[in-house]
């Protein structure tokens, strides 16, 4: 069995053992359900068979939850010293990073799976645009992958979970909000660069149902960068 999967499975089990998974699922479903169906600009208020309101709520709840999930992944192992046992087993740094990434990603995927009744309900209410819904879910998964990679990197540089949480949130905030705000302020090529870096723009175009290769490349490059940096900070011990 692949080592990546062995690590991912253990990590996923420990999410459920330590209640993190249940708390996260309950809060995520609670928030998104409440704002999608009951309150604010919910589906009945808007009066359209569209999951747009769910996607914009999930966009924010995941932004906060993901650093809370990723903060312990490597920081805790550093703190307790178990990282030494893990890395002296027959696994590479990369396999460890990928395993942890996969575990967090699967947890988010499980959370999103539980929202499947939403589109099913919608199908009973009206005639939703299924393409758009699929794209919206894909957008949420891609966004989660990007934030998990960032969180994993933040968790790899410290032994303190709070530091890992806050720095993950801080880095993510740039992509989530600050680049978007800045792009409105700046003009010219600088404005374009900042605009491209803004995650919300890419997410919104996906949530509208447009699949563009630039968006995919954007998300995948954040994931790749985060994972490579995390791997690098794990291998730092070999060169000190």
């Amino acid at each position: 069995m692949s080592s990546v999967w062995v690590i991912a499975r253990r990590e996923l089990a420990s999410f459920f053992d330590s209640l993190i998974a249940y708390i996260m699922l309950v809060l995520f479903l609670g928030f998104s359900g409440f704002f999608t169906w009951l309150y604010g600009s919910d589906i009945f208020m808007v009066g359209q068979a569209s999951l747009q309101s769910f996607f914009s709520v999930a966009f924010w709840t995941l932004f906060f939850f993901i650093p809370a999930i990723t903060m312990r992944l490597l920081a805790e192992e550093r703190k307790t010293g178990t990282i030494e046992l893990l890395l002296t087993k027959a696994v590479s740094n990369r396999q460890v990073v990928l395993g942890k990434f996969l575990a967090a990603f699967l947890l988010i995927a499980i959370a999103l799976l539980f929202t499947l009744p939403y589109p099913l309900t919608l199908a009973a209410l009206g005639r939703p645009d299924y393409g758009q819904i699929v794209c919206g879910y894909a957008g949420l998964l891609l966004m989660s992958a990007a934030y998990i990679a960032i969180g994993l990197y933040a968790s790899s540089v410290t032994a303190n979970q709070i530091v890992a949480f806050l720095s993950a949130l801080f880095i993510s905030l740039f992509f989530h909000l600050i680049f978007g705000v800045l792009s409105g302020q700046l003009s010219g090529s600088m404005g374009q660069v900042v605009d491209y870096l803004s995650l919300s723009a890419h997410f919104e175009s996906l949530a509208r149902g447009v699949i563009d290769s630039t968006d995919l490349i954007y998300f995948l490059s954040i994931v790749l960068a985060g994972l490579l940096l995390a791997e690098l900070s794990l291998s730092k011990r070999n060169f000190e």
Binding site: M1, S3, V6, I7, R10, A13, S14, D17, S18, T80, G81, T82, I83, E84, L85, L86, L87, T88, K89, A90, V91, S92, R237, N238, F239, E240
Partner: protein, 309 residues
């Protein structure tokens, strides 16, 4: 698999933690790595297991350099780190299964290996408990079990018997001795009777350098150039005894332990026949010799001599 360490260096900041260490361990040999805290034992072990990078020199395991083939060599090494860090929230069985899978034990063999380790390390009563709930002795056994789960050819054990009670220590030593017959074992400790009880060879390291290498016997021989005897002579005058003893051939020093009661300690040149001379002297002077004990130099003294100077 043999381990050959060549001129190993490791620097932390300006301080050299390991400073030109070279030695070799052969299959079937148990090497005791001895030294005061901070001598560089753990650092050397961490470099062998590939956890930290090699500062200078090289480590060859079965003719392959750890520098180049670390990933492949890890499969052949079982490692118990110093503070025995384990996943507290995992049950013992799950943890051992996880370790077996990571170490590349084939899925079909995993349950058998886990069972074997539970028997070998007498973990049966605790196997379903979470590791965090175990006592220190049991945790240590789990640490040993995870190190041996894939039946590695090399075992690196950093202070394997800390926290165990005397019965457990004897069990674990027995286990290590058994394993040591066909494997290459390096164990570090600062408990001296432990190395005497388990190891074939002792390596004393101080401030990153090797200061002694040999069996407990050979270390004793080379460390002390003198024989020490404790004698008790009764029915004699104190001053007379002191003078006569000092005059014996081969005696280099006489000190009174309890001179009034007739107890003396004699330092002598080994092999000079001092005990015989002493006996003759007593007969001649009609003193009563009630005790004549050769004092064996303890490993503790050797250790102190080598690591304090």
């Amino acid at each position: 698999m043999d381990i050959r360490i060549e001129n190993l260096f490791k620097r932390y900041g300006v301080q050299a933690a390991v400073d030109g260490v070279s030695f070799q361990v052969k299959t079937g040999e148990i090497l005791g790595f001895l030294g005061p805290n901070g001598a560089g034992k753990s650092t050397t072990m961490k470099m062998i297991t590939g956890y930290i990078g090699i500062g200078g020199g090289d480590i060859l395991i079965g003719d392959k350099s750890v520098k180049l083939h670390s990933a492949e060599l890890k499969k052949h090494i079982g490692y118990l780190p110093e503070h025995n860090p384990l996943y507290e929230e995992m049950p013992v069985m799950d943890y051992l299964r996880f370790c077996a899978e990571l170490q590349g034990v084939s899925p079909a063999d995993v349950p058998a290996r886990v069972r074997q380790m539970i028997v070998d390390c007498s973990l049966d009563a605790e196997k379903h408990k979470k590791i965090g709930e175990l006592s220190k002795g049991y945790r240590q056994r789990v640490g040993l079990a995870q190190a041996m789960i894939h039946d590695p050819e090399i075992l690196i054990l950093d202070e394997p018997t800390t926290g165990l009670d005397p019965n457990q220590i004897i069990e674990i030593r027995k286990l290590i001795r058994e394993l040591g017959r066909e494997k290459t074992v390096i164990l570090s400790t600062h408990i001296l009777p432990e190395v005497e009880a388990t190891c074939d060879r002792i390596l004393i390291i101080n401030k990153g350098r090797i200061v002694a290498d040999g069996t407990a016997e050979s270390l004793r021989r080379q460390a002390v150039g003198q024989q020490v005897l404790v004698v008790k002579i009764e029915d004699a005058v104190e001053a007379e005894v002191a003078a006569e003893l000092a005059r014996l051939r081969g005696v280099t020093g006489v000190t009174g332990i309890d001179a009034a009661a007739g107890s003396w300690q004699i330092q002598a040149v080994p092999g000079s026949g001092v005990p015989r001379e002493l006996f003759r002297l007593c007969v001649e002077r009609r003193w009563v010799l009630t005790e004549l004990t050769p004092v064996e130099t303890r490993l503790e003294d050797i250790f102190r001599n080598l690591t304090l100077n």
